[in-house]
């Protein structure tokens, strides 16, 4: 199994508080890894470390076999894209949001290309000039993914993108992510939904209070002898 991203004894301390403790593990290339665990486990911090929005206080993170620190932060963030929790939008239209990644590089996104990006995530081309803030939760999440994918994304980091969405929208987004995987994109997906993690994940990371309790093929959630994994499966891990 080839690793897209590897963590080696990674610790993170922010404002005097250690929030990630000696995490070692890998995210396999071209697979969906679901990142699960109770609130405050450090899952979002792991995604921000991968995208370079945060740095490890100690330890090493490797991307495609090279230390993350050897990459230019801007170039790295364009390859390791992140759809942030809550799908924040900039003020303006759907098109304004879609062309943002190109604008940041001093480039343009043609409206025709923006429409292709919209339809790829299952959004109606007609909404291209609609205000982004007027979209529903599901539409915002899809737009957030489409916007991230405007960059030549090799790894896609998803932070609770289906929380508070209706089952139909959840199923649409899951299918979209599976399509991304089939195109060779590595996916790391934070979810609080255990059934969803098992349904779409090939691999899993289970975290609690900044520690990686277990990682491996998704089946490990059912078969692991680790007491804390079993507690998590029984809904008793906090």
């Amino acid at each position: 199994m080839t690793a897209a991203i590897t963590f080696n004894d990674v610790c993170v301390t922010i404002q005097g508080t250690q929030i990630i403790h000696d995490v070692s593990g890998l995210f396999p290339k071209g697979k969906i890894t679901t990142l699960i665990g109770p609130s405050g486990a450090g899952k979002t911090t792991i995604l921000k470390l991968c995208n370079g929005l945060l740095s490890a206080t100690s330890g090493a993170i490797m991307y495609n076999g090279q230390p993350l620190t050897s990459y230019d932060p801007i170039a790295l963030r364009r390859c390791v894209g992140m759809a942030l929790q809550g799908a924040p939008m900039i003020k303006g239209s759907v098109y304004d949001n879609l062309k943002l990644p190109k604008q940041l590089q001093g480039d343009k996104l043609l409206e025709a290309d923006a429409i292709v990006a919209l339809t790829q995530v299952g959004l109606d081309a007609k909404m291209i000039h609609k205000k982004a803030h007027d979209l529903s939760g599901g539409q915002r999440q899809k737009l957030s993914i489409a916007r991230t994918l405007i960059n030549p994304t090799d790894v896609l980091l998803l932070d609770e993108i289906t929380s508070a969405l209706d089952p139909y929208a959840v199923s649409e987004i899951e299918q979209l992510i599976i399509d991304m995987k089939n195109r060779g994109v590595t996916i790391i997906w934070i979810t609080h939904n255990l059934a969803q993690a098992q349904r779409i994940g090939d691999y899993m990371w289970l975290m609690q209070r900044g520690e990686l309790i277990e990682s491996g093929p998704i089946e490990l959630l059912e078969t692991s002898n680790n007491e804390r994994v079993q507690q998590f499966m029984r809904g008793e891990l906090v």
Partner: protein, 254 residues
């Protein structure tokens, strides 16, 4: 004006004191302190200016302007505590404004290079710039705290810190400049500026007073724009580290 006449004007201070008492506004102490400070500070500056004007020594004018910049810097820096090096950034922008304003006014011989002109005009430029800086820093702090997610979004998409903070920077610059622009729009219609009114009351030709006021108004536009733009572009970088990441404590105001 005689000292007796000035003493009678203290009636204007009694009115807010009575209102504060009657409506339980609890502003009595503040009004009293503000009045005493105004009397002491203005009388003191009156004697200092008299001394400087009599001496006609350029060194005294320079010293007076330096003190103005120092006091304005120390006053405004409290509002930008989360910005590293805010003291020297403020001092630098105030010095730049003083340099631009005096460069134009003295360089083109618009006003004579005497203390009577340099000190009051510098006071207006530096004072207005200090207020603009405070307005800018207040708004900038609010903007970055309220839009941390948007800043993070742009960074996550591969934007530079300048691109990430651009909207907040522009909004803060505009917000700090608006009061100057708005007051300029209604000048002469709603309010007669203090300096112009003072000159007219003192017996100056109204047209001369108007021309001087126009000079001041144009100067204030420059101070408003330069102070917020300069301060903004000097400040935004300190909110990010070398790895182009947000420094969390700068955004949460902790």
């Amino acid at each position: 004006m005689t000292y007796t006449a000035l003493a009678i004007t203290l009636a204007f201070v009694c009115i807010p004191l009575v209102l504060s008492k009657a409506l339980n506004l609890k502003l009595g102490a503040d009004v009293t302190i503000a009045t005493i400070r105004a009397i002491v500070q203005l009388l003191a500056i009156g004697y200092v200016l008299q001394l400087i004007f009599n001496q006609q020594n350029v060194l005294y004018s320079f010293l007076m302007v330096a003190i103005m910049i120092l006091v304005a810097t120390l006053n405004a820096r409290k509002k930008g505590a989360q910005i590293d090096g805010i003291t020297w950034k403020l001092a630098l922008s105030l010095c730049a404004i003083e340099g631009i304003v005096m460069g134009v006014l003295l360089g083109f011989h618009i006003v004579p290079a005497t203390a009577q002109y340099i000190i009051p005009l510098s006071g207006m430029a530096i004072g207005n710039s200090m207020v603009m800086s405070i307005l800018f820093l207040n708004r900038f702090t609010v903007e970055i705290e309220a839009h941390e997610q948007e800043v993070e979004l742009i960074l996550s998409l591969g934007g530079t810190p300048k691109q990430a903070i651009h909207r907040q920077l522009i909004a803060s610059i505009k917000a700090s400049m608006l009061p100057t622009i708005e007051s300029q729009k209604t000048i002469g219609l709603v309010q007669l500026p203090g300096m112009m009114s003072g000159q007219i009351i003192a017996g100056a030709d109204p047209m001369q007073a108007v021309m001087f006021q126009l000079l001041v108004q144009f100067m204030l536009l420059t101070t408003a724009s330069v102070s917020s733009v300069l301060l903004g572009f000097l400040s935004y970088r300190t909110l990010f580290n070398q790895k182009l990441q947000i420094i969390p404590e700068k955004f949460t105001g902790q």
